[in-house]
């Protein structure tokens, strides 16, 4: 098992390196220079030269690339050109929002998706089955941004049950757990960034500090965007669960289990579902990219200041360090999550380890 993990890790290194290279050059291939998109169209030549010198943009490309690689290895993501703030600080502020949104969406997608898939497979070819699959097909065909707007129209504008946008109601704020507990950190230091990163997950933070008002409010704000984001993965998971369970239920060991006189419920869960969930695990890993792409759209619609809108703004403003820093984090996350999926897979199906 250890050899398997090490080999997978080593294989990931050239891929991450390639991603960093592509990002570096792609970011610089975006036409229009950062100076004019940040200082304004009318910035003078001298102002732009000074700007370039300050931000290290006057160095030759290979030197810039060298500095960039060195900084990444030492964990320094540089400063945003536009805001003159450390990229790491910006990620600490913005990423938790996106993580909360994506996690909530993934939980909804897995729970509802697997349940629907199992029900469909058990009532194969019934009205329930056909209905569920029609809904799943419509689910993957809906534009996320349109669904989001429709949800706002129905639940916020018409019914008034849920807030249309934002993360917390104005006037309410989430008190970081470390401040509440009187922990003291040097601002900008690594431990400070870490605890701040954790406390910016409002739901988690309000649970550990027992702030139920903020918790209720944060959840209320999260329901609509999370649901909008969950539809596509949910539909995909429901379909995969159904077809994989149908296939498994035709196997000999399921017949054996039935012949032993096990109850249908037990046969489906113990013998069917456990084996049927293998492909579902892979799909969940693959859905991460869709979730991140969807997050850009969902955050835009629901007015959420998350990492999705941050990267979108950075790309349009040619803020190189932010684009690069974001991609580094996402690429690493990607590799780590796929590694976890692979390990889980190897654990669930020992044949894979031996190959």
């Amino acid at each position: 098992m250890l050899r398997f993990i090490v080999r997978r890790l080593l294989l990931a290194i050239p891929v991450i390196f390639g991603i960093l290279l592509v990002t570096f050059f792609l970011a610089r291939a975006i036409p229009g220079d950062p100076c004019r998109s940040i200082l304004g169209e009318k910035a003078t030549e001298e102002a732009c030269e000074r700007f370039a010198r300050n931000k290290g943009l006057d160095e030759p490309l290979p030197v810039q690339l060298g500095i960039y690689m060195r900084d990444i290895v030492t964990g320094d993501l540089g400063d945003s050109i536009r805001f003159s703030r450390p990229v790491s600080q910006m990620l600490v502020e913005r990423l938790p929002m996106t993580i909360e949104l994506a996690t909530a969406a993934l939980i909804i997608a897995v729970v509802v998706g697997v349940t629907l898939g199992v029900i469909s497979a058990m009532r194969h070819n019934s009205a329930v089955d056909v209905g569920t699959m029609v809904v799943a097909n419509v689910g993957v065909s809906m534009p996320v941004f349109w669904l989001g707007l429709m949800l706002i129209w129905l639940f916020a504008a018409t019914l008034g049950w849920l807030p249309p946008s934002g993360r917390l109601t104005a006037g309410l704020s989430s008190e970081p757990f470390f401040e509440k507990w009187g922990w003291d950190f040097k601002e900008g230091s690594f431990p400070f960034l870490t605890v701040e990163f954790i406390s910016n997950h409002f739901i988690f933070n309000s649970i550990i500090t027992g702030d139920w008002e903020v918790l209720r409010d944060a959840i209320k704000h999260l329901i609509l965007p999370a649901f909008a984001l969950s539809t596509i993965p949910m539909a995909v998971i429901a379909r995969i669960t159904r077809s994989s369970l149908l296939e498994v239920m035709g196997r000999d060991y399921v017949r054996t289990a039935r012949a032993k006189g096990s109850r249908e419920r037990r046969v489906v869960i113990r013998h069917g579902l456990r084996n049927a969930l293998l492909p579902v695990t892979t799909i969940i890993g693959l859905q991460l990219g869709a979730l991140l792409s969807g997050a850009v759209l969902t955050e835009t619609i629901f007015g959420l200041a998350g990492a999705g809108t941050m990267i979108f703004d950075a790309i349009t403003a040619r803020d190189f360090p932010v684009i690069q820093g974001f991609v580094v984090v996402i690429a690493t996350l990607y590799v780590v999550i796929n590694l976890i999926v692979d390990i889980l897979y190897a654990y669930l199906d020992p044949r894979i380890r031996l190959e």
């Binding site: 891929v15 390639g18 975006i30 349109w146 792409s293 759209l297 990267i311 684009i323």
Partner: protein
Amino acid sequence: MTQPSEPVESEELLLTAGPAKGLWRSAFSRLLRRKSGVAGLIIIGFIVLVAIFAPLIAPHSPTEDFIGEPNTTRRDPPCVHLLGCDEELPEHIMGLDGNARDQFSRIVYGSRLSLSVGLSTVAIAFTVGSTLGAIAGYWGRWVDNVIMRVMDVILGFPALLLAIGIVAALGPGLRNTLLAIAIVSIPQYARVMRASVLSVKEEEFVAASRALGAGGWRILLTRVVPNTLTPLVVIGTLGVASAILDAAAFGFLGLGAQPPTAEWGSMLAAERQQIFSAPHLVFFPGIAIMITVLGFNLLGDGLRDALDPSLNE
């Protein structure tokens, strides 16, 4: 959606198939037996007809505005005389948009754009991706390594973000959106093609061809490629669906088609702040996108079932 095959169906097929019915013809007749395939074909047929006959169907030009006409204001809600709308008011079955243009006409013309974006994106990605995949799979060794590592790098990014980066680099607009979506979907085709080539190239008929003295390219093009196309056709059909969705997302983000082009995603984006006061302007373009995408998804599913050899044992 693999399900235990229905024996009756395959027996029937055997009886009706005759001795030398081609793979594609028999696949097509199987497709017509699948509800999803038929539904998909009907939807796509409908959209294609709308796109072809757009000038006949649309009551107005997609860019004509009605500013200053009697009884007309911007963002008028839908008005259908048959459904009891006041005869005094001009008829606009999907209402007017923020520039007082007839939304129904814009949606009808938008179908041309969405279809051509979906099809041309897949055409590019399909050609480039399957060529790369075939080369990688057939020649192997370092060629394979280089091509597939590049594909891994592309797959390492969240697709939409990479496409946004490419569009930002090339400049916003419909053509660049199309290219960006094509580029990020190349690896899918390359991977599937490579896998198919790897499995086909060891078959005996390929060895026979080689023994007869056929060259590498000739074997690849006449023996290997035709036997690998089935999975690619399925991916391609589903690819049209996702390309249309992605192009709409780009329009929505303001990177795709630019005004006044009637593109569904950008129509939606232009009016999204009006969701509280004029929901019809958001509702209809979204429905149009959804129906078109649904058509290709259903057809893709139907094709997968029809072409899956495990179903006609």
